[in-house]
């Protein structure tokens, strides 16, 4: 497909992420085919070289994440993308990126799992994304878009945050957003990039340096870990993003992210027309997770409904956030089933009637 000339275009999620990456200054993409994100690689194979970048279809997802590491250590903006099984393969590489303090963007277009799973959209990789995924004490910033426009905006943000914190950032999309087409406004290409004096490009005019995550001395390793933890605390303090939708007078708050939140919004619109006071709290960063904001909700709202396309993952973060306050109802659909707004409205409505209307009598 040809590169968009106008800045408002109809794009599929996968194409949008690719185009946004180019505009964010990404000049290196290394990836391996896996459905439902192949269009990202296909788009970049054509357009990244046009932008002066390098595209390699690597021999595996393991090899791609390591190529990203190589480009990142020289100071370049580099990206890889995959889905479930491929993201599992990348975990060692992501841990190395975090340990070596290198910026990188990893896109996960989630599909059904576990194992080979299926190619339908799903949210079953939440734990893998936000609990670290790979070995060791580290975190990646995880951004969960709810629309193709948001996917574009969060891709631009991902590269910025990766460079700002010298840490890998994950974009947690799903097959639904990856494949669907929506009109988007594309941003201006980034022209100014941060200076990376830490990069390795040959020891000219300075002492030689090395980039590594092996620290045999345990006290120095502990110190390094606390340094990383301070970074993660800074991310927690500064980078939380979320959306509040019709929560001001709500009696029941739905908590959902990504495509599930999109569908839930549709359900809530229906229910509001029937007079039910339902609202939505949508984390946009699922790491750092907006624990405090959810805890604040418990001041005015007592009923929570967690809706995700998995068997209960973000649910645990919500439970942690609420710390026993309020009542949580969980509705989850793992395996790639995507209920319609009508289906979800029935579930929310029925819970609302059980918990709220009845109590009012």
């Amino acid at each position: 497909m040809t590169s968009p000339k106008k800045d408002k275009v109809l794009l599929s999620g996968n194409h949008a992420v690719a185009e946004a990456a180019i505009r964010a200054g990404c000049r290196f993409y290394f990836g391996y085919p896996i459905t439902p994100q192949n269009e990202i690689a296909e788009y970049l194979s054509e357009h990244l070289p046009e932008a002066g970048g390098v595209f390699i279809q690597a021999e595996s997802e393991i090899s791609s994440i390591n190529m990203v590491l190589g480009a990142a250590v020289t100071g370049a903006r580099a990206m890889t993308s995959s889905s479930g099984p491929g993201i599992s393969l990348k975990q060692e590489g992501i841990s190395f990126l975090a340990g070596q303090e290198l910026p990188a963007v990893i896109v996960n277009v989630m599909r059904g799992g576990p194992g080979l799973g299926n190619i339908a959209g799903c949210q079953g990789d939440y734990f893998q994304a936000v609990r670290g995924g790979g070995h060791g004490d580290y975190k990646t910033i995880v951004l969960a878009p709810g629309s193709v426009q948001e996917l574009v905006d969060l891709t631009m943000l991902a590269f910025e945050l990766a460079d700002k914190y010298r840490n890998p950032v994950m974009i947690l999309a799903d097959g639904l957003i990856g494949q669907m087409r929506e009109p988007v406004i594309l941003p201006e290409p980034v022209r100014h990039f941060p200076d990376k004096e830490w990069a390795l490009r040959g020891a000219k005019g300075r002492p030689s340096r090395f980039s590594r995550s092996l620290i045999l001395n345990v006290r120095r390793m502990e110190e390094h870990n606390w340094k990383l933890q301070r970074k993660f605390r800074e991310m927690d303090a500064n980078e939380i993003r979320f959306e509040r939708y019709l929560l001001d007078d709500a009696k029941l708050a739905v908590i959902a992210f990504g495509s599930a939140a999109r569908v839930a919004k549709g359900a809530i619109k229906r229910l509001r027309k029937e007079g039910l006071k339902v609202g939505l709290f949508r984390p946009i960063t699922v790491w750092p997770f907006p624990h405090k904001k959810i805890r604040e909700l418990a001041g005015e709202i007592n009923e929570f409904l967690v809706y995700e396309l998995n068997a209960g993952q973000m649910l645990e973060d919500v439970k942690l956030a609420l710390a026993g306050q309020g009542e949580i109802f969980f509705y989850g659909r793992p395996g790639g089933v995507i209920p319609t707004p009508m289906d979800v409205a029935k579930i929310i409505g029925s819970r609302y009637y059980q918990r709220i209307k009845r109590k009012a009598k």
């Binding site: 090899s63 390591n66 250590v73 370049a76 190395f96 040959g202 020891a203 030689s208 090395f210 980039s211």
Partner: protein, 259 residues
């Protein structure tokens, strides 16, 4: 009196942690001599492996990046594609290159990445305490083959360099050994040829395999380890040029050295 030989300036003034008679020490020395002689120290990046040479940056006074086990060629690909003017080499052992990193080794070669891969073949896994490697010879004992390698159970030793040499993207491949004065000089020439492939913009990967002594894990003295390479190991892994597809050069002698 004039000093005609000494410690190369890009070898840091630090005692090697390598065992007495280890091939790594010799290869590190030769490589750092070349950094000086070819004047490329400030535009070279080395990719260190998981293995005894994981601490290569403690000795080599050039920019070094650590790679996960076996992934050196992928990391080197990212570096070289990002800054093509750099001289980039991977430094890998048998496990790194021929076991866990087999795919990365083959595909970097297949793509013709303009990097040099230095393959330190000691027929065993040194750092982790002497387990069997893909290159362990039949009958050779290892901690995971206590009665010696048996082809029926463990497969034959793998000569990955010969496989790689068949790939058109490999522009130069040579096997040498550091087990004798002659071998050491030959190794230095081979390493220089490998580096020159990048300096001459040859369209592909240079692979230099070095048969290296591992006295502790072979349970031989350093001098006997050198003999064992001559008498046994090089019969299975012959010392020779495995591929030469260079366009610009044929084998050049390093000026000043006598073979």
């Amino acid at each position: 009196m004039k000093k005609i030989y000494g410690r190369p300036k890009y070898l840091k003034a630090r005692k090697f942690h390598y065992c007495p008679g280890c091939g790594h020490s010799l290869v590190h020395k030769l490589l750092m001599e070349l950094m000086d002689e070819l004047n490329i120290a400030d535009r070279t990046i080395g990719v260190a492996p998981a293995g005894c040479a994981v601490l290569a940056y403690d000795y080599m006074d050039i920019d070094i990046v650590e790679a996960a086990h076996g992934r050196g060629p992928a990391v080197a690909t990212g570096i070289k594609r990002s800054v093509p003017e750099l001289v980039v080499f991977t430094y890998q052992g048998d496990g790194d290159l021929a076991a866990i990193g087999t795919a990365e080794s083959i595909h970097a070669a297949s793509r013709g990445e303009q990097i040099m891969t230095i393959f330190i073949n000691n027929g065993i896994y040194g750092m982790t305490g002497g387990q069997m490697a893909p290159t362990t010879l039949e009958g050779m004992k290892a901690t995971t083959a206590p009665k010696g390698r048996e082809t029926r159970r463990d497969g034959h030793p793998l000569d990955l360099s010969s496989l790689l040499a068949q790939i058109p993207g490999v522009v130069y491949a040579e096997r040498v050994s550091v087990n004798s004065p002659r071998g050491i000089r030959q190794t230095k020439k081979a390493l220089e040829a490998g580096l020159r492939c990048q300096l001459d913009n040859e369209p592909g990967l240079a692979l230099i395999e070095v048969l290296s002594m591992c006295p502790i894990n072979w349970k031989l003295s350093p001098v006997d380890s050198c003999k064992w390479i001559d008498e046994v190991m090089s019969k299975k892994f012959p010392i020779k040029v495995l591929a030469d597809r260079r366009i610009k050069t044929t084998r050049k002698a390093v000026s000043g050295s006598v073979d």
